[in-house]
Amino acid sequence: MIRFEKRESTSTSLKILIPTVSIILGILIGAVAILLKGINPIKVYQALLIGAYSSKYTFSETLVAATPLILISAGLIVVFKMNFWNIGAYGQYIMGAIFSSYFAIFWSPHIPKVIMLTVMVIAGMVGGALWAIIPALLKAYWEVNEVISTLLLNYIALFVLKFLMYGTWRDPLSHGFPLSKPFPNNAQLPRIIPHTRVNLGLIFGIIAVFVVWYLLKKTKFGYEIRVIGENPNAARYAGMNVAKNIIIAMIISGALAGLAGMVQVSGIIHLLQIKINPDYGYTAIIVAWLAYLDPIVASFFAVFLGGLASGAYQIQITMQVPFGIVGVIESAILFVLIGSEIFMRYRLVFDVGKKKHSGQEETL
């Protein structure tokens, strides 16, 4: 008979083994999908690695893709630590992009760059935070399940974006395409590596990682988050304000997702459009989990998954493998990762022929 037995503690080796196995299985499942297209998966993965990490330029593109993942996952870690499942980084990212774009589109191009960018950063964070406060309030005061409310708000955010892009925010010179007018130079984040698209957003990401790390490890807020996440009864018993902490944590999480949206439009796309890659909001969930909610470890996984995405752009062109393959690999990784949670908490026990009772029984 095989049965599960509760583990007393989780070994560190398991914490390394499970993400590794998840990634390998994700890649294998991706390989099956590639094989179905009749292409040699080994060659595809070779090309993917080359496309992601081989040259200065390709690696810079990996960093470009990693930047929003670093920002968003840092924020998600804060709320995930308290067992609040924010699936809404997607929508918070869009709102951040919209709020910051307002100033790029409607304010004068002659405002000094420092002022313009500061305003846009704040606006992006406020936009994301406002979108995140809604489910936080619903949860804190009416116990509305946050998975559903954050997820549904994603669609609303997307339709707000579509509404603006087909409506008043569309550039009259765009020939009917749903694009805003290009951001003037004063609304573009400066690049920090010449001849690449790596911009100030990466620095924001690194700062965010250390701020979150500090918050969680050193502050009273971080302590309360840990206690609430692990045992809300004990938190109430100790007089902690659970509702207040949910709201603060969601403000942080939403603000960082919003900032990621701002970085994307201001640092990469240089205009607002419908396609601004909000899927980073979902990929960042995988990043946070692969890292077991450690913000510093998460930034390395962000580079890994960012590489997967930027490499996939290459193989799409050179090998005719659709970009969607990255989605398959990512989801397979998350699937295996979450499925393996059971091994973190339980161990498999095989008892062969062990008699658990005495005496002979008469069966019915």
């Binding site: 007393e8 503690s9 050193k218 502050t219 009273k220 807020f221 971080g222 302590y223 840990r226 206690v227 692990e230 045992n231 009864n233 004990a234 109430r236 018993y237 100790a238 007089g239 658990k356 009772h357 005495s358 005496g359 029984e361 008469e362 069966t363 019915l364």
Partner: protein, 509 residues
């Protein structure tokens, strides 16, 4: 042996560290109501779960109608005609009575003949005067009606033996009366009933025979006519010679806690505190005895601000703290050892440090500004570990790796180190081994000697008698008597625990 419908022989069930059932023998006659009486942790529920197939015993046999039965699951027990009604109902709120009754039955065809089933439910309902409508939704029913649905569910499945696990715990007195009528009616129809309880007055009203369990063993089986509540109480709590721990003579000081006419409701919306009032003074241990579920847990929650009092007042050192925020109450000098260390008192997955500073992280020097000074926190934790002799694998290891005794020591250390005016300790030694139990009791006496007021709430009568200075007895949310510990004895307290007032118990003496 046809007289017996069910016989359990030498049932033994071990759990890690606990012998829950120790060679238990138990017989159920056809058409009788047989009560299993015992304190919490005596092994009643374990035995019933074995009969219902939820647990499988390590040793022993069960015979149904004289034939050996192999019960491995509730499905098996159903086939033997055993139906268990759990204390917490196993009903789906959003479904109808009918849907709940047939839930899990395997012999239904794909298209369910609701008319036929409804008729059968009404037939059962009429026979026992249940007054149930098959198409009513469960959430629309009162608790008493929901319980009747559970009974119908079992009768529908052809149960001849009904096990009711503390059925009155969730009922109002009127609903309990109605239940007893139903049970008597079922008895007259030839059903056999096992009734689990620790409320002596109920037991005396409903039972034909009574089997008393204590610490996993059968103490005896008696006919109702040949016994009385005093004897039952004695059997239930034991007759060991009690010794009192060393202590300084009582220096009863000023009044620290005053509870005045407090009323409160439990999570199920039943009133569990009924104008309760008492005081606890500086330098004394006030032991509150009582059978589980008479409002003890809720009382502690009301005093500490974790539950709202609907009327009445709580004073701490003369200051009104009724319904204040838990933090305000804690800061005005109350600390609390909750009954369930893993669910409330501690955070099992966090380290000893994180657990030790739960009351201190806001205050200097561990808390400074918005930060927690983990260096100071570690030093503080180390000092607690040393002072209270707590065994931890590593100071950073999650506290769930500690033994129960060491967990409780950490919790106690954390709470009494705040040096409060009032310490509330609820079941402080439940589930602990003898060494840890003794350590905790000595510590409670130590803080009492140092002038703290201690409110000790416990179901362990030995514990209450051993360390209290005064003893109060709680029954159905009110105090049935308060006495000096030196005037107390098991008989008197047992009677008060069963609901008789102090005058009544005095006349029995």
């Amino acid at each position: 042996m046809a007289e017996y419908i069910l016989q359990a022989r030498n049932i033994t069930k071990k759990f890690p560290g606990v012998l829950a059932n120790d060679h238990i023998n138990f017989d159920l006659k056809k058409g009788e109501i047989h009560t299993i009486l015992g304190e919490n942790g005596a092994g009643k529920s374990t035995l019933m779960n074995i009969l219902d197939g939820i647990y499988y015993p390590n040793e022993g046999e069960i015979y149904i109608n004289g034939k050996k039965a192999n019960i491995r699951s509730p499905f098996d027990s159903m086939r033997y005609g055993i139906g268990m009604i759990h204390q917490h109902f196993m009903l789906v709120d959003t479904l109808t009575v009918l849907e709940n009754v047939i839930l899990g039955l395997k012999d239904q065809s794909f298209f369910i003949n609701k008319k036929q089933i409804a008729d059968k439910i009404i037939e059962i309902s009429d026979k026992y005067k249940f007054d149930l409508k098959p198409f009513a939704k469960i959430w629309q029913l009162s608790v008493g009606e929901q319980q009747r649905v559970e009974i119908v569910k079992m009768l529908f499945r052809g149960a001849d033996i009904l096990i009711l696990d503390e059925p009155t715990a969730v009922l109002t007195p009127q609903e309990s009366e109605a239940l007893f009528e139903i049970l008597k009616k079922m008895k007259s129809e030839g059903k056999s009933i096992i009734f689990i309880s620790h409320k002596l007055n109920e037991v005396m009203e409903i039972s034909d025979r009574i089997t008393v369990l204590r610490k996993g063993k059968v103490i005896g089986t008696v006919n109702k006519e040949e016994t009385n509540p005093v004897e039952l109480a004695k059997m239930m709590v034991g007759r060991e010679v009690l010794f009192r721990l060393q202590r300084k003579p009582l220096e009863r000081g000023e009044e620290v806690l005053k509870v005045e006419n407090v009323e409160a409701y439990n999570d199920r919306g039943i009133k569990v505190l009924n104008k309760i009032g008492f005081t606890v003074h500086k330098g004394e241990i006030f032991g509150l005895a009582g059978v589980a579920g008479n409002g003890q847990k809720e009382l502690a929650q009301v005093i500490t601000g974790l539950r709202k009092a609907t009327s009445g007042k709580v004073f701490l050192l003369g200051k009104d703290i009724t319904n204040q925020h838990p933090l305000v109450i804690a800061n005005s000098g109350t600390n609390y050892i909750p009954p369930d260390r893993l669910k409330v008192g501690l955070i099992p997955n966090l380290s000893s440090i994180d657990n030790a500073i739960l009351r201190r992280y806001r205050k200097n020097p561990i808390g400074s500004g918005i930060l927690v000074n983990y260096k100071k926190a570690r030093e503080y934790t180390e000092s607690l570990i040393e002072k209270f002799n707590i065994m931890v694998p590593r100071i950073d290891a999650p506290v769930k790796l500690l033994s129960g005794g060491n967990m409780q020591k950490l919790l106690l250390a954390r709470e009494i180190s705040e040096n409060p005016a009032l310490l509330i300790a609820v079941h402080p030694t439940r589930g602990l081994d003898i060494g840890a139990t003794e350590f905790i009791r000595k510590k409670l006496l130590e803080v009492r000697d140092s002038g703290m007021a201690v409110l000790l709430i416990s179901e362990d009568l030995d514990e209450i008698l051993m360390i209290s200075d005064r003893i109060g007895v709680i029954y159905e949310g009110r105090i049935t008597g308060i006495m000096d510990a030196k005037d107390a004895d098991v008989h008197k307290i047992g009677l008060l625990m069963a609901g008789s007032t102090e005058e009544e118990s005095a006349t029995v003496h």
